[in-house]
């Protein structure tokens, strides 16, 4: 099993979710994060004092899949989360040791 961690622009979440569902992916975890890569932030003004907002709001999606699904997930993400403008995000793939379903105790493939 692998964990695919995807960091995308927040407004792309709905489209990515649809794309992953059509692959048969049945679950994912989403969190609101901030970050920057080569996309710089911007500056704002508050009562006459200028300040930099370096961290840009993003959404992180974590999906656990069987190893043979990873390429399909990456393809789907590259298709659905892309805008072509700077700041589209990143995909990271991690090996996963164990997965358990808490309600039933199932493990491995049956847990995801």
């Amino acid at each position: 099993m692998k964990k695919v961690e995807v960091i995308i622009k927040p407004f792309k979440l709905e489209e990515l979710k649809e794309g992953l569902s059509s692959l048969g992916i049945q679950g994912m975890t989403v969190s609101e994060v901030k970050g920057f890569g080569r996309q710089k932030g911007h500056s704002e003004i508050y009562r006459g004092a200028e300040y930099s907002v370096d961290f840009v709001p993003k959404v992180k999606v974590e999906i656990v899949v069987q190893a043979d699904m990873v390429d399909k997930v990456i393809e789907a993400t590259l298709t659905h989360a892309k805008t072509g403008k700077i700041g589209d995000g990143k995909i990271f793939v991690y090996p996963l040791e164990t997965a358990r379903r808490i309600r039933t105790g199932e493990q491995g493939k049956d847990a995801i």
């Binding site: 508050y46 009562r47 004092a49 300040y51 930099s52 370096d54």
Partner: protein
Amino acid sequence: MKTRMKNLIYFTIGALVTIPMMAWGAEEAPTIAGNAEAIATVQTHADYLWTLIAAALVFFMQAGFAMVEAGFTRAKNAVNILMKNLMDFSMGSIAFWAVGFGLMFGATGTGWFGTSGFFLSDFSPGGDPWVLAFWMFQAVFCATAATIVSGAMAERTKFVGYLVYSALLSAIIYPVFGSWAWGSLFNGNGWLENLGFIDFAGSTVVHSVGGWVALAGAIVLGPRIGKYTKDGRIKPIPGHNLPLAALGVFILWLGWFGFNPGSTTAANKDIAMIFVNTNLAAAAGAILAMTTAWMKFQKPDAGMSLNGALAGLVAITSPCATVTPLSAVIIGSAAGVLVVLSVLFFDRIKVDDPVGAISVHGVCGAWGTFAAGIFNIGGTSAKIIGVQLLGIGSCFVWAFGTGIIMFKLIDKTMGLRVTAEEEVEGLDYGEHRASAYPDFQISSPVWAPPAPQGHGAEKAQVLSEAIRPASEPAV
């Protein structure tokens, strides 16, 4: 005898007895004197009604101040801001009842402070209740002055110190100056009003007193940690809820329709022009503040525009009954420009005022009082302007002077400012062991001014500076 006959006889006897009795107890015909008395009673009742409705509107301004201050400060200090606002009204009410009202409106031999009417001794059950209505109206004015200060001293003031300040301002600082300008509205007689000082609803008596005491507090406290860097840059500490701040401004605007027109303490046609002047000044202030900020920062700034509306309201408070609506527009407009420049000025001299209270209330209160001399409907003169300036100056000396003394005393005895750790963690935890938003994770990001272009090392320097406190607390 048949029953019907008996009933008819009883009825006739009853009618013959009752009708003359009714005529004997009937009222006399109306007279001119009787009518005049009745009309005067209705007018008196209307005066009570208007004064107390206006007092309720001014009371509601406390909610306005609370929301403005909560909105312009950080979430980790929200509970503390609300407690300060709740308490400066509550403690202020009691202090003004016990001591303040007597100092402000009591009989006076000197013209500098009153010496009667403490604990509302002018009232006894069954007596004339006008003193109660008048007290209620004046109490909410006192509370307005008191609550101005909490904004300038936000996010770093010890709660206990603030409680002591609330009592002292409402008991002594506000009423003494008030007696100079308004004492004769009741039993008193002030030296300043005897010179012809114009301050109809209190640009100086209420707002400048609050503003200059706020200045004293902000100076004695020192700026918030991280506000100013050692190399002179100003770091913004954005408020956590602009919608709350805006709501607060609208509530204040509404309350001002009690503050200004209510100062007639009489139900008559004068209130119409006062209403109009109040609204026009607020609107003009908002527009000109927005324009000034737009020209300076290339964008219409919400916070500054909101301050502009308040600046217009504060400025028109003194002249509202004695200037034309056109003058009100001019006065409000000037206040809108003035408040933006003033906010920037105080930041440049490193007086940290999280909500702009000093600029809105102190500076624009002075401007409004001055404008009352210039735009006076009855005409202006050097003497009139001179008296206005005298009032503005004596208010500054009194309020700022006693403010500095009071805050330094509080600082020496119980401490005025919280510790650095408590300030960084947030006063909600340190002072109240509470959280305003327990359902949400609050993170207070530290903002850095934009780094010079293209120098990575310098940028790292700026960011690390952002985490280290820029100035030590003034304890």
